[in-house]
């Protein structure tokens, strides 16, 4: 068997990961660590509350946590005062699109010179797998045991909404459902930091990330669920790119 990559000991040390088996967050973390290794400075990471908490001990740079959902505002305040630092907010879909939707929206409206990485696993995972704004129609969660129905509304296309805003310089959705997908996560994050450095505006990367635990699947089924179901509602690709055109 060919070893394609050694585990990144910097990211894993000293305690190893706390993620559930099959969780996509570790892949994002390793991709992020690889990208940061290529940068000439370590970013400051602002981490939301949620399963993203489990990343704090492994971040390749300074880390601060803030109250749930408000990470964009916290990161904005920091960046305004330290414009030469790279600033990266890490949030789940619950914080970014649910509780903190107003702060996320207006961070985008202002076109803050930061990068936001949103890990979208379609549930409020840290609290046990409840309905999120991103849960697919029909999908059972602990607060929608019969599945997401019409009374809950359809899944929120938040990145599509933000992509219409002039302050958003770059928005891309990627998916962890294949080895290629993981490589695209890495490439997208690298691009986001490039955009931040150029001063073009906000860069947002949304990662469709498997949550086998709360999806009640095994890891392979979770990847398939992303490929076959999640990506039909949340298509991957570049949703906004205003780096060169100056288009608002």
């Amino acid at each position: 068997m060919k070893v394609v990559a050694e585990p990144n000991s910097t990211a894993l040390a000293p305690h190893g990961f706390d993620f559930c088996p099959g969780c996509g967050y570790g892949s994002v973390l390793l991709a992020l660590t690889d990208v940061v290794a290529e940068l000439d400075q370590k970013p400051v990471f602002m981490v939301d509350i949620g399963c993203v908490d489990f990343m704090t001990a492994h971040m390749p740079g300074d880390v601060i946590m803030g109250p749930h959902g408000r990470t964009g505002a916290l990161a904005s305040g920091y960046k305004r005062m330290q414009p030469d630092r790279l600033v990266c907010a890490i949030q789940g879909d619950g914080g970014f699109m649910g509780l903190g939707a107003a702060e996320s929206l207006h961070t985008a409206v202002r076109g803050e010179q930061i990068t936001i990485i949103v890990l979208n696993n379609g549930v409020l995972a840290d609290t046990g797998g409840q309905l999120a704004a991103t849960t697919l129609a029909g999908k059972a969660t602990s607060t929608t045991p019969l599945g997401r129905g019409p009374q809950h509304g359809p899944p929120l296309p938040f990145l599509e909404m933000l992509a219409t805003l002039g302050g958003v310089a770059y928005a891309e959705r990627v998916a962890i459902d294949s080895a290629l997908g993981v490589r695209r996560v890495r490439r997208a994050i690298a691009k986001a930091f490039e955009v931040q450095r150029s001063g073009a505006g906000l860069s947002i990367i949304e990662v469709l990330s498997p949550c086998p635990t709360h999806w009640r699947m095994d890891s392979v089924q979770a990847w398939e669920y992303i490929s076959e179901s999640v990506r039909t509602v949340y298509p991957t690709g570049v949703l906004a790119d205003r780096r060169d055109t100056g288009d608002t």
């Binding site: 904005s76 920091y78 409206v109």
Partner: protein, 360 residues
């Protein structure tokens, strides 16, 4: 060298002169009566002095941006009314209580729950001193009575915030917000960023509680963090209480306990009360937390009667009761966003005093 300038402006405008003098480099805020002019003064003056001002979509974003700027090492502030403070409470619990970041919030009180009224109130007392966000934490609360004191205490709030690693609230009210007075303020001073180091090593800049919790889930270690905070708050309660007494010396017939604008009205009413033949004084807490219990106790010890005056249904009165070890003899208040004239204050207090005499 700092050169002071004599100015004449409203309390709200003066807050921003004080902030510039204190080396505050960041302001974020959302308009709310009666604090809106603070935001507008910041929008005008902060950029003139190379400082950053961000008008936000709401109070929640404002306080988080202030926390972010503080984390970046700079003095930062916002201003609001009690209803905005409600929205900021979650962040204050997090960043003042748990993360121990310094910051300043000027709160101009208007009366009432919900949307309330637009007039002056003092019913933000409990919110500011005990109920501003969840969990075991305290914030220093300073209560000025004049525009000059608003300036001085706002400047000092930044020092206290950094000394103790917490947010400091300057609790004014609508009268102080709109009253224009002469005041002396040091000229704007730039202040370099302080280095931000807290939590553990490895480049992690985490709240200590989170840092401990993340690695161990060790409740004994978490309690040690709690005990350190407990000691910090105890030291503040020992070192920082402040009060002022004015009026007649010695054992008086009537001791009035009031703070902020209402204390000032009480002081102006003293001559009228004296004309009724009584010895009378006012003791005014300047720090609401830590409450100046010793000063209030000693001021009230020899008084024949103690009357508490508030623009609320009675909030500070609980602290007065705790300080003097008994229920204060009388309570007078005004509700609805209305403050009394000195004549009205004097006659209401005198009436209450007569009733107390009749009871005795």
């Amino acid at each position: 060298m700092s050169i002071a300038t004599k100015r004449f402006a409203s309390g709200n405008e003066a807050v921003i002169d004080a902030a510039l003098a204190a080396g505050c480099h960041f302001f974020a805020g959302y308009p709310v009566t009666p604090a809106t002019e603070i935001l507008e003064a910041a929008a005008e003056k902060f950029p003139q002095h190379g400082r950053v001002m961000v008008p936000t979509e709401g109070e929640i974003a404002a306080i988080h941006m202030v926390a972010g700027a503080s984390l970046a090492g700079f003095r930062a502030m916002t201003a609001t009314a009690p209803l905005g403070l409600s929205l900021m409470s979650e962040a204050l619990s997090f960043f003042s209580g748990m993360t121990e970041l310094p910051g300043v919030v000027v709160v101009q009180q208007r009366w009432g729950p919900g949307d309330g009224s637009l007039g002056p109130g003092q019913d933000g007392y409990n919110q500011a001193t005990r109920a501003c966000g969840h969990g075991d934490f305290k914030m220093i609360v300073l209560a000025p009575k004049t525009v000059q004191e608003l300036v001085d205490l706002t400047i000092e709030a930044f020092d206290l915030a950094e000394r103790y690693g917490m947010f400091v609230l300057v609790l004014g009210d609508q009268l102080l917000a709109i009253a224009s007075e002469q005041y002396v303020v040091p000229d704007p001073a730039a202040r370099p960023a302080r280095s931000v180091e807290f939590g553990r090593g490895n480049g992690l800049v985490l709240p200590e509680l989170v840092a401990v919790d993340e690695t161990a889930g060790d409740f004994a270690a978490l309690e040690r963090v709690g005990r350190r905070w407990e000691q910090k708050f105890a030291a503040i309660e020992r070192d920082e209480p402040r009060a002022e007494r004015c009026g007649d010396e010695g054992a008086v017939d009537l001791m009035i306990v009031a703070y902020g604008s209402l204390a000032r009205i009480a002081e102006y009413a003293l001559p009228q009360l004296r004309q009724l033949g009584m010895q009378v004084a006012v003791v005014r807490p300047i720090t609401l937390w830590p409450f100046p219990s010793d000063a209030v106790r000693s001021a009230c010890a020899d008084a024949k009667s103690v009357v508490v005056a508030e623009l609320s249904m009675g909030q500070m009165i609980d602290d007065v009761r705790g300080a003097i070890g008994r229920r204060p003899d009388g309570f007078v208040n005004w509700l609805g966003g209305r403050a009394p004239s000195t004549e009205e204050f004097a006659s209401k207090v005198a009436e209450r005093h007569r009733e107390l005499g009749a009871v005795r």
